[in-house]
Symmetry: C2
Subunit: 146 residues, 2 copies
DNA sequence: CTAAACCTTGAAGTTGAGTATAAGGTCAAG
DNA sequence: CTTGACCTTATACTCAACTTCAAGGTTTAG
């Protein structure tokens, strides 16, 4: 199988497949006499594993770790469980942050309905954002939108 | 005021303040005869506005837009309201994605309790992630953790 | 005189996961 | 013999918001 066929079979761009090889997610490919990469179909399931792992929130570095362990003969199950628990904790933390941000935005938007643009002074730039608000929580810095 | 004092007053690194100037978030600073940047205290509230806007999820590009409008004499209120509505929509979309990801991770973790590492074959790399699961939703690709 | 604590500039590096560009070799069809 | 679809490599670029590095000038204290 040539790289284009692997690409067609997986939906992953040829450039990306070469990139994964450079990153160590795929073993160094065998070559035909003309220099073309030659694959057997184990590469398909490996690439599908990469995509499945990504959709579970794992990074390529995480996935490299799993694959390396598997390639060395170990079952990576315990390692994977740990990673998934970590990711779930990350997701929950991010959900918490986003909930707070959504609440902030909601308050800001609501206050914008009550404020008159004519009252917006030059010094505070925009009174929707910079007008002093009561009960503003200090932790709201450090929150960003991703 | 020198740049270090502005930094101390706002908690924003001097390098970052120079970076903001290059990005157009701060006007070109006046200079002392020795070349040092000299600030008056309007820069403090401007930097605080930047931080407040960031904590509302606005990007530096968004903030540059607001500041430019304000500097040209317009009240940016209508523009800001629009931005905040957009950001809230982004946050809600992200919350939705994260909820789906959290559910996926929960299912994966639960299945990992039921699976035996001894049953994990070489071919599927890790049966927690790659074992065929019923009712897997197609949209779960395209989700990433941020 | 020297050391420290400031300040200056420009350029490059960081992170993650690719994507794009350039310049070229290979192969089958017509 | 040429066109087009493949394949190869290396290098650079993308996004955002900084951070780090290198190499130097200025000021103040001892």
């Amino acid at each position: 199988m040539l790289i284009g066929e692997v690409s067609a079979a997986t939906g992953i761009d040829t450039q990306t497949i070469r990139f994964y090889e450079r990153q160590g997610l795929l073993p160094t490919a065998n070559r035909a006499p003309n220099g073309y990469r030659i694959y057997n179909d184990t590469v398909i399931s490996r690439l599908q594993f990469v995509r499945a792992s990504q959709s579970a929130g794992l990074t390529l570095a995480d996935i490299t770790g799993i694959l390396t362990q598997r390639d060395s003969g170990d079952a990576p199950c315990a390692h994977v469980s740990g990673l998934l628990e970590e990711k779930l904790a990350d997701v929950r933390a991010r959900q918490f942050e986003l909930a707070a941000l959504a609440a902030d935005l909601g308050r800001l938007i609501e206050s914008s309905h009550d404020l008159d643009p004519a009252d917006c002074s030059d010094a505070d730039i925009c009174h929707i954002i910079s007008a002093p608000r009561v009960g503003q929580d200090e932790a709201s810095n450090a929150r960003t939108l991703h």
